[in-house]
């Protein structure tokens, strides 16, 4: 391995890692606020990239039908629970929030699909239609079980993953897609060349992380999310509704999934099921962060990217073995550092029941 190759591998690792950072942050965010390990995160990301690809090929993205179905299910569920609680006067609000609001981007995409769209508009539309997916999934699949154990929520998340990745096969077909590159710029930095797209990925990832930092540190809503993460019951006592913070967490995560999908679309061929593997690798990064720390997750995700890049050079057929094998020492280290993880969950459950 020459120094030049080592540098190229670092560059490749960082740009892959930057995507894992975004996905990892989203996974940690959702986990902290709602205790859901959101397995379908990668799938939502895949939807974003494939939606953009469909828009660029002037086709109708199937994402519209997913959003419509989810919106319908969420509205019916919301109506049912409101009526059972005898809160009929809140029905219009529920209809607007779960029925009409998600339809707005769907309608825009429906109108725009099939036309020649400028790049920025297609990206905005793809992001807009991805936004409602995770919050609606939360309403339909997770909120009714908000107090269930982490394990139950994980199992539900896996089920949701299978459902929406199966739907992606129906919507987008089995073939892979690439979106058009956002920039064809190419920079020569000393011995190695860096593509504009990978700089864009790393810069966006850094910017979004910074935005999240400011959001959590400086805004009321961010603080409410953090409060829910620290102690759900305490948060409720001071007037924070866990269901609202949950929805916001999923909305933010949806945006993160949308951004990462759109950033990764031009650099790789994505299939209806590629998102899952990306999500899993980001999850390894999140585990390095112990599923609690955002900065540690970001570092972990970058490490996964670098490890993957070097492993693919050293022995490509064992690449995944390296990446997922890294989980074992990490988990051992985590449990030495702060005792058994299971105890913690049990503790949390006791808190939940209290």
């Amino acid at each position: 391995m020459t120094p030049e190759i080592a540098l190229l591998l670092i560059q490749d690792g960082i740009s892959t890692g930057a995507i894992y950072v975004l996905v990892g942050l989203g996974i940690v965010l959702i986990f902290l606020v709602t205790r859901v390990i959101f397995v379908p995160f990668g799938d939502v990301m895949g939807y974003a990239a494939l939606t953009l690809a469909a828009l660029q090929m002037k086709q109708m993205p199937g994402t519209i039908w997913l959003v419509l179905t989810l919106a319908l299910m969420a509205t019916v569920m919301e109506f049912y629970s409101l009526l059972r609680q005898g809160q009929g006067r809140r029905l219009p609000r529920a209809l607007a929030l779960y029925g009409l609001l998600p339809l707005l981007p769907a309608l825009l995409v429906f109108i725009a699909a099939g036309h020649e769209l400028p790049m920025w508009l297609a990206i905005v539309l793809a992001c807009a239609i991805i936004l409602p997916i995770s919050p609606l999934l939360y309403r339909v699949a997770f909120r009714p079980l908000a107090d269930a154990s982490v394990l139950v929520l994980l199992i539900v998340a896996v089920a949701v993953h299978f459902a929406i990745s199966g739907l992606a096969l129906v919507f987008f077909g089995p073939e892979g897609f690439r979106t058009e590159p956002m920039t064809r710029a190419f920079f020569n930095l000393g011995p190695i060349g860096v593509s504009g797209q990978s700089i864009l990925i790393v810069a966006s990832s850094a910017l979004i992380s910074l935005f999240l930092f400011v959001f959590f540190e400086r805004t009321l809503m961010g603080k409410a999310l953090r409060a829910t993460a620290v102690n759900r019951i305490g948060a409720r006592l001071v007037g924070i509704m866990p269901s609202t913070t949950g929805t916001i967490a999923f909305l933010l995560a949806s945006a993160l999934a949308g951004f990462s999908g759109i950033l990764i679309g031009p650099v790789t061929t994505l299939y209806y099921d590629s998102g899952f593997l990306i999500g899993l690798k980001a999850f390894v990064g999140a585990i390095i962060g112990g599923l609690v720390s955002y900065p540690a997750t970001a570092i972990g995700a970058l490490m996964v990217g670098l490890l993957e890049s070097y492993a693919s050079f050293v022995d490509s057929s064992l690449k995944e073995v390296f990446v997922f094998g890294a989980l074992i020492p990490i988990l051992v280290w985590q449990s030495i550092r702060k005792g058994s993880v299971e105890e913690e969950i049990e503790e949390e459950e006791r808190e939940g029941r209290a």
Partner: protein, 382 residues
């Protein structure tokens, strides 16, 4: 659901035609849904074209029953049993995946039903003997053509990158088998998964090995990834592939990066470009016409043509077998198996078929041509 519907329709047809005895019954299985659907659907369209092309052998009608296995080998097994036991088919055809076909072959041998495989599959050993023949070209035959071409192009060092699955292994083994004879050194054996997002590491290793050419063992759109990464790194050497790459989506995803890729394929893909002297040209053009008529769309894939060739081999064998027994009887099935195994010089769209007892494959060098991707079109190489 779909398979039940097909069965119901088939049962209806059976009731209606109950009085006419001794139709030749063909049980066809393919994957119309599931991950294998992109390959399975062309097979279905091909068999529809074939049935429309020739619905009779002599005076005997051919009844075609089609079932979907949803890309699932256990569903393929169930379908095969259903077809043999309930429909009393004379011959099985299918399915669109090798694992599913092997599963069907087990049922076929057990129930002594002749089977025509549409994938390069072979039948596991059975005390009942061999009941399966395969239509497609065996992968080593195709890879050998590429290696020959590389020799002609003066390639001394070639790099290999392929899928980290059985297809990648199969192509690598075929490359290694043929390479020593051609005095070509294979300098790398890199692997990647179908769902991988980056092959940068593998590509750097390939470029560091300074090969004259790169040969890949991928398929379809995921097969375009190494070419894209090589182009990104400014690799200028020769690009070679296998017939698994040839599909319109590969060209779409690969864009300019796959320009100049040389791959083997069945002659049907470039039927218009074949010289008049090539015997498969006439059949291939007839197939195109039948396909257009049956499906109201032009054909662009190799798979539908395998279904068509299977039909042609069946017609030839059935003609001979009908002299020995009535369709639906055990004697007929045995005679059909014997006739299939002694097929001689049947001209199809992909090649000329000659089967011998003991061998699964029936094609030779006439079933492959080399094509190169030029400006987004596959062009025949002489």
């Amino acid at each position: 659901m779909l398979s039940r519907l097909c069965l119901a329709v088939a049962a209806l047809i059976l009731l209606e035609r109950g009085s006419i005895a001794a139709d030749l019954t063909v049980g066809f299985v393919t994957s119309l849904s599931g991950p294998g659907a992109s390959i399975g659907i062309p097979y279905e369209k091909g068999i529809l074209a074939a049935h429309a092309f020739a619905g009779k052998v002599g005076d005997t009608n051919i009844r075609l029953i089609r079932l979907d296995d949803a890309s699932d080998p256990s569903a393929a097994t169930r379908n095969a049993r259903k077809l043999v036991q309930e429909e009393k088919v004379d011959v099985l055809m299918g399915t669109s995946g090798v694992p599913g076909t092997v599963a069907m072959a087990v049922v076929a041998a057990e129930t002594r039903t002749p089977t025509i495989s549409l994938t390069p599959a072979s039948q596991p050993q059975s005390p009942n003997g061999q009941w399966l023949i395969s239509i497609p070209q065996p992968p080593p035959l195709m890879v050998a053509a590429v290696i020959e071409r590389m020799k002609k192009d003066n390639v001394k060092r070639a790099a290999y990158i392929g899928f980290s699955d059985s297809w990648g292994d199969l192509v690598y083994d075929a490359v290694m088998q043929n390479a020593p004879a051609g005095s070509i050194e294979i300098v790398t054996n890199e692997r990647y998964a179908r769902a991988d997002t980056s092959v940068t590491g593998q590509t750097l290793k390939i470029i560091a090995a300074h090969p004259d050419a790169v040969i890949t063992g991928g398929s379809g759109t995921p097969g375009a990834l190494p070419y894209l990464a090589l182009a990104e790194r400014g690799y200028k050497g020769g690009l070679y592939g296998t017939h698994a790459l040839i599909n319109p989506d590969f060209v779409r995803v690969g864009g300019t990066a796959v320009e100049g890729v040389i791959a083997p394929t069945g002659p049907v893909i470039v039927a218009e470009q074949l010289p008049e002297s090539n015997p498969t040209k006439k059949v291939a053009l007839a197939f195109r016409e039948a396909y257009q008529k049956a499906n109201s769309a032009p054909t662009s894939d190799a798979f539908s043509a395998y279904s068509f060739d299977a039909w042609l081999v069946l017609l030839d064998a059935a003609k001979r077998a009908l002299q020995k027994g009535q369709p639906g009887s055990e004697e007929f099935r045995a005679a059909l198996k014997d006739a299939m195994e002694t097929t001689s010089e049947v001209v199809g769209t992909h090649g000329i078929y000659n089967y011998k007892p003991g061998s699964f494959f029936g094609v030779d060098e006439r079933a492959r041509v080399l094509v190169q991707l030029q400006k987004g079109k596959w062009i025949l190489l002489q």
